[in-house]
């Protein structure tokens, strides 16, 4: 990027850029080969009969509680994004870190060091040695929806998930899948749904399906912060 700083427009563009993609040298290997089929089909299928609504609510609470106890404060990730605009899907790697109660960070190492930090109201972005840029999440409902989903799952806040999304849970404790449809109209214009999948008290995968047809799959790999 050689864009010269052109007033605030650049600040916005930089902020949008800053959640950027990194290809770290110590790239973790994805747990399984990438497949060309749509990402959401990759999520584990429900194993048992679809639970009754009350049962689903209980299961959601239990899963999310488990995630909070698991306290996977720091996880490596591999992300792959497909888009009708792209010739080839694009990949990125880095570290996701959650700091209770409401902050999480997405750190990438290459080609430019980037740090995306999202708290309750703002996304703060630092690209390279540049000054941090702050974006209000209210101005970007799509970003807020993704932030809400990640935060809800990582903080183990089922109530927050239910506030921002209509959740549908399937599977059992060993193998589960939570589909989140945004409630906010602004978010729903960009995001069709976010799918969280995992098992055994661990979040393994986050899928984001956009209205445009673009899809992002994010695999959480490696060990948690307590190592």
């Amino acid at each position: 990027m050689t864009a010269r700083p052109r007033r605030a427009a650049c600040a916005l563009a930089a902020a949008l850029l800053a959640a950027g993609v990194a290809r770290a040298a110590d790239t973790p290997t994805p747990p399984q080969a990438w497949t060309p089929v749509p990402a959401l089909a990759q999520a584990p299928a429900p194993t048992g009969p679809v639970p009754a609504r009350a049962g689903a609510d209980v299961l959601l609470d239990r899963i999310v509680d488990g995630l909070a106890r698991d306290a996977a404060r720091e996880r490596r990730f591999v992300e792959r994004r497909r888009s009708a605009l792209f010739v080839e899907p694009v990949e990125s790697r880095g570290t996701l870190r959650f700091v209770a109660p409401a902050t999480f960070e997405k750190l990438t190492d290459a080609p430019t060091r980037e740090r995306l930090r999202i708290d309750a109201e703002r996304a703060t972005v630092q690209r390279g040695e540049g000054a941090p840029v702050v974006v209000a999440l209210d101005a970007h409902p799509a970003l807020r929806a993704i932030a809400d989903a990640l935060r809800g799952a990582l903080a183990g806040d089922a109530r927050a998930l239910r506030t921002a999304f209509t959740p549908a849970v399937s599977g059992d404790d060993a193998r589960w899948r939570i589909e989140l449809v945004p409630r906010d109209a602004g978010a729903a214009r960009a995001i069709e749904r976010v799918v969280l999948a995992g098992g055994g008290g661990r979040l393994e995968r986050i899928d984001v399906l956009e209205r445009s047809g673009d899809a992002t799959e994010l695999w959480l790999v490696g060990r948690d912060g307590r190592g």
């Binding site: 850029l17 993609v21 994004r81």
Partner: protein, 788 residues
Amino acid sequence: MNQPRGAAGRRVAWLAWLLLVALALAQVVRTPVLTDITAFLPGPADADQRLLAAQLRDGVAARLLLVELELPPAVVDDRWGPELARLAGRLRERIADDPAFRWVADGSAGAFERDRQALFDARWHLLDEPLDVAALRLAFARLEDTLRSAAAPAVRPIAAEDPTLASLRLLERLGAGDAPRTRHGAWVAADGRRAMLIAETRAPGFDLDAQQQALARLQLHLRTALADGPADLPKPTLNAAGPGPFSVASRTAIEGDVTRLSIAATALIALLLWAVLRSVRVIGLAAIPVATGVVVALAAVGLGWGSIHGVTLGFGITLIGEAVDYAIYAWVQRRPDGGAAPQLWSGIALAVATSAAGFAAMFFSGFAGLAQLGAFSIVGIVAAGACARWLLPPLLPATPRPAPPRIVAAVDAAAQAAARLRVPLAVAALAAVLLLVSRGERLWNDDPAVLSSLPAATTERDGRVRDALGLPDLRLLVAVRGATADEALARAERLAPTLEAARAAGRLAGWDSPATLLPSAATQQARRDALPDADTLRARIAQALAGTNLRAEAFEPFVRSVAAARAGPPLTAAHYEGTGLGRRLAAQRVEDRDGAAVLVTVRGVADPAAFAAALRALPADHPAGRPVVLDLKDDVRHLIADYRQRALQVALGGVAVIVLLLAWRVRTPRAIAGVVAALGCGCLLAGAGLVLLYNSLTLFHLVALLLVAGVGSNYTMFCSTLPANPADRAAARLSVVLCAASTFIAFALLATSSAPVLRMIGSTVALGVIATLLCSFAFASSSTATAR
């Protein structure tokens, strides 16, 4: 009885009175009450001020309501923030469905969706967007990076149609960067206690009945919106700010004042008269000239102006204190045989004339509002005087009950004591002169803000809401004129570099020209001509995308949007119909009989006076024509200072007339000197007292001081022409004290009004009445009758 006429004449007089009062009442009930405080400001002097006044009075800005929902102070954390945001949303839905409102926004994303769409659709008309290969290559590289980041979902919906992200830059430029921060999806303040909405009423801002109804609808909507929410939400208060609510508030306050103060003045004066005169009948009779005067005066104002100002209505209270004087003089100075004291009637006629001379100064002050007060008072006292002269005498009791001797003795003693105060009073008057002179120009306060009847908390809240919503400060406006609307827009475009340079130099935080949203026809044409045709653009895109991970075919919507803009119709104001931007545009474009103008608003001007001077100093051949800087505060301040000068001249003329009238009455040089000394010392002491009280004087104090001269001249005159007969003398003195006391009561009550104009006049005259009465006893009291 010294009435020359018999029963037939009396019947004619009463019939004439009945007819007059009936006609006056018919006029009064047809006269609407206004409280527009601008009536008290000087009228617009030129086309530019007319423009400003019209915008402030009738424009969109005058229809905007800033609505604040505030939770009780007991709520200290953000716990209720989300619920408050939802409440604001429910309130917005209800206001949007209400035909009394044209538009409403609560900061929610949906509220600005139409604005965003309108800007997106107009982007090729609004930006100089280079679409050559180099620019496209840069733009696509940027886009690709963004789409690879986690921020992709925010940009992806527009990426295919607007890959250069022109619409985002446009939003930035139009102040999205200064837009109020939203929290929980609404304009909720950081403390989570306040949420804000902005609404536009359908009725104009000066239609106070409609504005009042709109405010009532807001409260109703809040109640139903609260009913749909959680029961445990602390009940928020609804504060509405804006020209409409402010006018409604001051009208309500003035109407409340008029009722409260009239009742208080009537009761207190009746009590005073009862204490001294001990006759219910006389008090009842005294009410006849008062009521006649008020009704006839109101009718005269209604006839002359078509409406009556709330302040005039409030001023009517003082007529109670003035008009009751004539009945007092008529009664107290009666002789036991039922005849009037010598010169009583010519004295009352002179009293009416001198008071009228004082009020005439207000009439000629050049302020529409003061002229109304002047006309009201002149008509009122003439009617009351005539009433006292021709209707009352036959009705007064045949034998007066003497006033309580203790009171008579006290008044006499006070008069004697005052006579010994000559030297101290003269010294005090000299000190007053020194005080007034030493102040120089600092003596005068010409700030129009002193006229605002709004409590400081209200204006402060307005400022807070305005700041929070990023609305421009309306104090400073730059008007760019043109023969046609398009010429005005073209000139505003040429002013942009000057404003941008000022912004870059930190002299202002921002500016907002309607030409940004609606460029001139020439600019639009130039931008359309610069757009490539579809085939050229496809070829450039293919070239720019070489070596990237982006697919050229995916950007066909971009090609189509450029082609559509190139072939489509020019952008007009209709494009923004029904959006907040359309509102802004309408507020900034004016067509009047002087041509067309656009108003450029500015924000955060560091030094308004210097900024205005710099723009005014642009050369006459500047391509932007001659922009006019309207500085609401400073322009009005200068006008007020000019009018103050003129009022001073008028006041001096008024004083000269009063002195001439008195001189004609008292004749001897010695008596004339006494009269002038009494009046002069009284007014000086009152003026110095005001300076000590308020630290500075306003135009309204000045005019009120002239009123003091007019009213005080009555006391001076009666004191300087005291009858020789000791009994008559005591009665005359008592009547003067009674009159002064009733006038004091009326004006002192006026000083408690919530309207600053009334407060200023009330306190000045109340102070002046005491000072002139004291000085009249000291300087003008004659030991023998000097005039026949």
